[in-house]
Structure formats: structure tokens, C-alpha cells
């Protein structure tokens, strides 16, 4: 049993003089969901490429399950399941054939293959599509099949490289539901990259990368506590009393489109404001800071698809 399933120290990946990943270090705890966040071109896919043994590195150390990914490549590969940004299914084969082929690559005994195939399809609710050609599936279904395939050899780590790119909101929700369920039931360490801050909220731990460097490394809750504040918005006929109260506490409320707005440090102040001025309120909104606010605070720019 290892505490850190993945350890990355001073990872550098250069293309000529350009460093796509520039001295990145982080740990991923065993049996956790880890999110690697950053805008397009930040170095996420390059990092996942090195971690998943597809790419070499220019410098640094990467260990998975205590093994060096370059020196013990095949042993590391047995422990990994990878879902790339693009579909890597063989479209001319059926869903089951794709899974069987995958299992043969991982040296799973022939007698074991049917059970593993069906179990993996059941995990993502795709049993009834098992005999369909992969090319006939929708984008969301392909994603689910790829997740099933990546899990079918029972890896210790599942890499998901932007797994919901190009999917509609409902399919995105299904994919995340599937990932959460799998992590909870199987205890697989999930390493996901995404540029959707909203989606990264499911992670136990987050590393934010920008221009090849780590700019934050923490839990989503702690990052939000450190870098964001709760927003209070109140609509009332006469907001003067509430405004004065907020100013007394050192805040800077503003009136905008008939709403009084203020960034507040925590829930206690909101409760107190409601206790004092609740009777005059016509409407009230309280919104927590998001990881997107964290990203803006850390990099001075918004993350975009």
C-alpha cells in the first residue's frame, strides 16, 4: 500500500527550446480523485503523456506506484488505464471486440476475458450496446466505452484527459456520475485533466497549471477559501440600513441594477444580515466562490475552452 500513488518531481518536457512543462512537481494520493487544471496549451496533455508513458521527458522524476515510468515502463503500464482526449476505439470493431482486444494487450487469460468484458460494460451501463460497431456510437457512448475499456484490466490509476470535451451537458453529467461511482466502488486513483473548473469540483485535490508551471496545489475547498469570497446580493426597497451595516464590518457594498452586492468573508455575516434586515428583503442571493474565481485570482485571466 502506497500513500502517494503518483509522485512528480521537477518534471520538464521541452520541444526544442520551448518548455511545454517547466519544473512541475506534485503528488497524487492513492484512492483519490485528482484534477489537473489549466487552459488550453498549459501543459496538461503533455504531462499526462509523460505520466502515461507515451512521451519521454526532458528532465525530472515521475513515479507511479513507486516505479519510475521510464525505467519500469511495462510494469507501470499494467497499472494504468488511459482515456485520451480523442477516441482511440477501433471503429470497425464492435464494442465487445474492442474490450477483448484491450484485455489481450494486458495479458489477461483468455478464460477471464468474457467476465471482465461484461463487468466493464455493466459499470458504464453499456451491456446492450456490446455488439454495436464502435463507429456507430454517439460521442458520449464512446466515452463510456473507453472508460469501461480503460478499467477492464483493473488498473490502479485511471487517466482521463479532458473526458467531456465536445460532449453535451447531459452526457457530461453522465460521464462524471460514472467516474464518481467507479472511484467510490473500486478505489481506483483517478487523474483527470480538464479546463472546466466546474467539473473539477468533484476532485479531492487540485493542481492548477499555467504556462507549464504549477500555480496552485490544494483541495478545491481550501483554494476557494484562500482565493475567493462569498457574494451576497440583496434586493430591498431601502437598502441604506443593510449598506451601512456592511460598511461597519469593513466591506465595500455596491448598488448595481437595483441589487446591493458585497463580497463577504463567510456565512456568519450573511446570517447576521438576514437576522437584522430580513423583514425588508424582497429577494436574496448568496453564491459561493468557484474554482474559476480561484483561477482568475491566481493567473489574472479566465479559463476558456
Amino acid at each position: 500500500m502506497v500513500d502517494n500513488r503518483i509522485e512528480v518531481r521537477g518534471l520538464v518536457k521541452k520541444y526544442g527550446e520551448f518548455a511545454a512543462v517547466d519544473g512541475v512537481s506534485f503528488d497524487v494520493k492513492d484512492n483519490s480523485i485528482f484534477a489537473f487544471l489549466g487552459p488550453n496549451g498549459a501543459g496538461k496533455s503533455t504531462t499526462i503523456g509523460v505520466l502515461s508513458t507515451v512521451q519521454g521527458r526532458s528532465a525530472g522524476e515521475v513515479r507511479i506506484g513507486g516505479r519510475d515510468v521510464a525505467r519500469d515502463r511495462d510494469a507501470v503500464r499494467r497499472d494504468l488505464g488511459v482515456v485520451f482526449q480523442e477516441s482511440t476505439l477501433d471503429g470497425k470493431l464492435t464494442v465487445r471486440e474492442n474490450l477483448r482486444l484491450h484485455l489481450s494487450f494486458y495479458g489477461i487469460p483468455r478464460a477471464e476475458v468474457p467476465r471482465r468484458t461484461e463487468a466493464a460494460l455493466a459499470l458504464v451501463d453499456m451491456e446492450e450496446w456490446g455488439n454495436a460497431p464502435a463507429e456507430s456510437l454517439s460521442g458520449g457512448m464512446k466515452r463510456r466505452v473507453e472508460i469501461a475499456r480503460a478499467l477492464s484490466h483493473e488498473p490502479r490509476v485511471l487517466f482521463l484527459d479532458e473526458p467531456t470535451t465536445g460532449l453535451d451537458p447531459q452526457t457530461r453529467a453522465n460521464v462524471w456520475e460514472c467516474v464518481r461511482r467507479l472511484q467510490a466502488t473500486r478505489g481506483t486513483t483517478v487523474f483527470l485533466t480538464t479546463h472546466s473548473m466546474e467539473e473539477a469540483e468533484i476532485a479531492d485535490h487540485v493542481v492548477v497549471i499555467d504556462k507549464g508551471k504549477v500555480v496552485a496545489d490544494d483541495t478545491p475547498a481550501h483554494l476557494k477559501r484562500l482565493h475567493t469570497r462569498t457574494t451576497l446580493r440583496a434586493r430591498m426597497d431601502d437598502p441604506a440600513g443593510l449598506e451601512a451595516f456592511l460598511r461597519e464590518t469593513g466591506l465595500e457594498p455596491r448598488l448595481r441594477d437595483g441589487w446591493l452586492e458585497a463580497k463577504v468573508p463567510g456565512a456568519a455575516l450573511v446570517v447576521e444580515a438576514v437576522r437584522r434586515f430580513g423583514g425588508d428583503l424582497r429577494d436574496l442571493e448568496v453564491s459561493k466562490g468557484t474554482l474559476n474565481d480561484v483561477f482568475i485570482a491566481l493567473t489574472g485571466k479566465e479559463i476558456r475552452e
Binding site: Q55, L80, E97, G166
Partner: protein, 276 residues
């Protein structure tokens, strides 16, 4: 044992069986060649064996040659379609990936060569069971060697368009300087060194030797028919020729594995997007 090599072979055979257009084109092109060249050989008269047998063996060799080269292109399709990444993250040594690919080219091309032999009965080929089996073995050997050459070209080309160009550049001169359609004895002397360096020459010669049952033919007949060749002061016969073809195949297998192992797949471009 669920070996990756055999799994890759099974996968490629399955895909070949499902590609009806490819099957049809193979049969159609072979039939067309047999039909067109039957007039040429009829005019030229028999060199060894029957004119039909001489012709069919040439077309069968060319079919195996072209099919084995083109089958190797499936690696490029896997590269552009994304499937190669699935193989590359798996704990499968690169030599096994190359071996699976070459075995697939061998099996598919030898099967097509066998179909040509079967069609050959309609244009005068006569072959007994033993010679038929031996001929199939030679087709398998040629398929493996040409598959290895094709795989090497695929690792050099890296893109389907470049590969097609390379195949044309390689296959056209090799075809016409091999004796498959035009007997080597009819070629100008200055081209003979090129003929001797051409693996297709030896493949054609050894296949004709087996398929036409020439084990009792005299040395002078074999020389005259372009089955044996005078190289320097020695005569290189069809069996040594087959050895040359297999040795070349082995060399290209090693070259392919070496290129495959060194390849930086970090810049693989996948053209089919995930969503539809």
C-alpha cells in the same frame, strides 16, 4: 495464452473480412490482370510450364507484393484514427506490435495470392495438392517479407498520402524489373544488376519454381526462363532466391522495430474527433 501478436492478427483479419469493397477490388484487379496478360503470354509462347501457369504465378506474386505493402498501411490508419495510442500505452513490446502487423500482412496477402491461384485454373494453371501447399508456403514467406518492407515504409512515411507515394515509387520499378510480367531474359543487359538486387525477382523465381513444378527442369531451362540467374560467375537458383527474400524480410523487420521503438509519438495527430 492470449498473446498480443495473435490478437492483432485476429483483429486485422476480422477487419479485412468485413471490408467488402477491398475484397471485391482484390478479386477484380487480379481477374483483370489475368485476363489482360493472358493475351501477352499467348503471343510470347511458353517459357517453362504452360503459358497460363507462367502468367498466373506472376500475377499471384504481384498480388501478394501489392497487398502486403498496402496492408502495412493499416498502421498509418491506426495512427490517424487514434487506435495506435491504445496500443502504445499497453504493456506490449514494440517488436510484438510490429510482428502482429507483419503477420497480418502475411496472412491477408497470402490468402489473396491463393485466390489468384484458384482463379488460375480458368486460364490453364495445373497444380497438384503438394505443389499447391508448397506454393502457399512460399506465398506466406513472401507476404511476411513484403509486409516487413511495407511496415518500414509506413514508419518512414508517417502519413497515408506519403505512404501511397512511396509505395508507387518503390513498387512500379520493382514490378517491371522483376520478371513477373516481362521475363528477365528479355531485358537489356545494363538493367540486369537492378534485376538481381530486386527482391521481387527472387520471389517470382522461387514461386514459379514451386508452382510450376520445375524441380526436374534442367539448369539451362531455368536460366532461360528467368528462374535461375547468373550472378558474377555463379548461378543463383530459386531456393537461394527465397532465402534472399526471407533475409530481406528479417532485415526490414529489425529496421521497422528499431524505427518504431525510437519514434516520438508525442506529436501524434488524431484526425477523428471524439464527438459526432
Amino acid at each position: 495464452m492470449n498473446s498480443p501478436v495473435m490478437a492483432l492478427l485476429a483483429r486485422n483479419l476480422l477487419k479485412f473480412g468485413r471490408d467488402r469493397m477491398r475484397l471485391f477490388m482484390t478479386l477484380f484487379m487480379s481477374g483483370l490482370f489475368l485476363f489482360a496478360f493472358s493475351f501477352v503470354t499467348r503471343g510470347a509462347g511458353p517459357l517453362v510450364g504452360t503459358p497460363g501457369g507462367y502468367l498466373v504465378s506472376g500475377v499471384a506474386v504481384m498480388t501478394v507484393f501489392q497487398t502486403a505493402l498496402n496492408s502495412s498501411m493499416s498502421m498509418l490508419e491506426d495512427l490517424s484514427g487514434g487506435f495506435l495510442k491504445e496500443i502504445l500505452v499497453a504493456p506490449v513490446p514494440r517488436w510484438q506490435v510490429a510482428a502482429g502487423q507483419i503477420l497480418s500482412s502475411m496472412a491477408i496477402s497470402a490468402l489473396q495470392g491463393a485466390v489468384v491461384l484458384a482463379m488460375g485454373f480458368f486460364v490453364g494453371l495445373r497444380i497438384d495438392l503438394l505443389h499447391g501447399l508448397l506454393a502457399f508456403l512460399v506465398l506466406l514467406g513472401m507476404g511476411a517479407s513484403f509486409g516487413a518492407i511495407g511496415l518500414y515504409l509506413a514508419t518512414v512515411a508517417k502519413e497515408s498520402a506519403n505512404f501511397q507515394l512511396l509505395v508507387v515509387l518503390v513498387s512500379l520499378p520493382l514490378t517491371f524489373l522483376s520478371g513477373a510480367y516481362i521475363p528477365a531474359g528479355m531485358m537489356p543487359r545494363f538493367l540486369l544488376p537492378v534485376v538481381w538486387l530486386n527482391p521481387l525477382t527472387w520471389a517470382t523465381a522461387s514461386f514459379r519454381y514451386v508452382a510450376l513444378g520445375l524441380e526436374h527442369a534442367s539448369s539451362s531451362d531455368l536460366l532461360r526462363a528467368g528462374i535461375s540467374f547468373p550472378v558474377g560467375g555463379a548461378v543463383v537458383g530459386p531456393l537461394a532466391g527465397m532465402g534472399i527474400v526471407l533475409a530481406l524480410g528479417g532485415a526490414f523487420l529489425l529496421l521497422s522495430v528499431e524505427r518504431f521503438s525510437r519514434a516520438d509519438f508525442s506529436r501524434i495527430k488524431i484526425f477523428k474527433r471524439h464527438h459526432r
